[in-house]
Symmetry: C2
Subunit: 244 residues, 2 copies
């Protein structure tokens, strides 16, 4: 029986051999069957990560929001037939704010072994870089678009951050970053700490944490159209929990 390998990819246009582990590169060179979010970006990645393997040797299986669950389950026949199967999202870690989780779920149902691999995650890098509590945190994906729903989601998250010390984390579609920034400044308290982290792991990476009061006076137009993570502080970590 083959296994299912979750393969992280660079978060931008970087050399895979600099930002991935040798373990991942060796695996990519070995696998021939890959479930991919986007064929074009997958082929570009494979060319960079394993240039010596002819493109024709890879069998790619599409995975997107239109992929039928039965088709996804069918891909796992590669494993039951005895070969390993890889999963690639467009950037970062499959299954984390990216497709892949469904396929992993089906693999568990079929008792196929699942192998997540070490690699870049913008959420994790942002949390590390924020200085916020990394012993309790919640990632919410996108905030609601509707103005009233968004406001109440933000107010609830700020309250949870304050009362439970839980760091609150969101992503945003890059062209909406400034609009989200304005909403954060409008709805959160002056003293609430906000971290904005752009272009994580890229040469242009930029991470800043300050109070909403100070953000209101900051010039941030350059965050527009850059991949960004937004985090709201849940206070300092409880130091007694350091022992893990």
């Amino acid at each position: 029986m083959g296994g299912l390998y979750l393969i992280p990819t660079p978060l931008g246009d970087q050399d895979p051999s600099e930002v991935l582990t040798p373990q991942v590169l060796v695996l990519v060179q070995r696998l021939r069957h890959l479930v991919v979010e986007n064929e074009k970006s997958a082929r570009k990645f494979l060319k960079a990560a394993a240039p010596e393997v002819p493109q024709s040797e890879w069998v790619l299986y599409p995975m997107n929001k239109y992929t039928d669950p039965e088709a996804l389950k069918g891909y796992l026949d590669v494993c039951t037939d005895g070969e390993d199967l890889g999963v690639l999202s467009e950037a970062g870690c499959p299954g984390i704010a990216d497709p892949g989780a469904d396929l992993v779920g089906y693999a568990h149902q079929k008792q196929i072994s699942v192998h997540p691999l070490i690699g870049p995650s913008s959420i994790l890098l942002a949390l590390m870089g924020s200085g916020f509590n990394g012993q309790s945190f919640a990632f919410h994906g996108y905030l609601p678009i509707d103005k009233l729903e968004r406001k109440s989601a933000l107010k609830l998250a700020e309250k949870t951050a304050q009362t439970e010390g839980q760091t609150q984390v969101w992503i945003e579609t890059p062209y909406r970053n400034l609009s989200l920034f304005q909403d954060l400044c409008q709805h959160l308290h002056e003293n609430t700490l906000l971290c904005i982290a752009c272009d994580l792991s890229l040469p242009t990476q930029w991470i800043e944490t300050k109070s909403i009061g100070l953000w209101k006076k900051a010039e941030v137009s350059f965050i527009q159209k850059r991949p960004a993570i937004f985090l709201v502080s849940g206070g300092q970590p409880k130091r007694k929990d350091f022992s893990f």
Copy 2:
């Protein structure tokens, strides 16, 4: 002005050159000032990651629950004096279920640039490997020890998982794994999905997802004393959110 570099370390007794990126190894070879959770494990890591650098060249600064906040702030003088400063936790990513967040917070206050680096996180690997919703998840650290508090925390988390689709994640002190497992089986519904992920990124890695009903019939005594992550499903990801 120097920067603050958050350096991940292997999750077990592995060769750093296999499970870390070349970017991290190059950085470790360059840095001479390091804030470390544990001096003994830090020296062992440095010896493996940069064998050509004499141990005497590294200046190590202790960081643990007894470290005075003023001392932590003082370490950042390395940066204001123009040199880069690294941070190492015992295993995994500094600041994520590990010390380091306070120091990062002080760095932001002093406008020192913060550089989180790509590397192993057992929480992230477990989430990828679970097949659970990676578009909405909460990491809670440890569950309460008190039996009644623990029960109500588990019930609340299960409800949040069901109503909001948010994956719930905990760590446990390895020698208490079986006790936590029994509590999960006792307090969660038969149909609730639980993932247990042990020894992440290690050769002995073991990840399984199934319903509480099936877990009750499973033999799991081998999870005791192994580093483990426990996850409860918040249902399937909302596929409309795949676009990030």
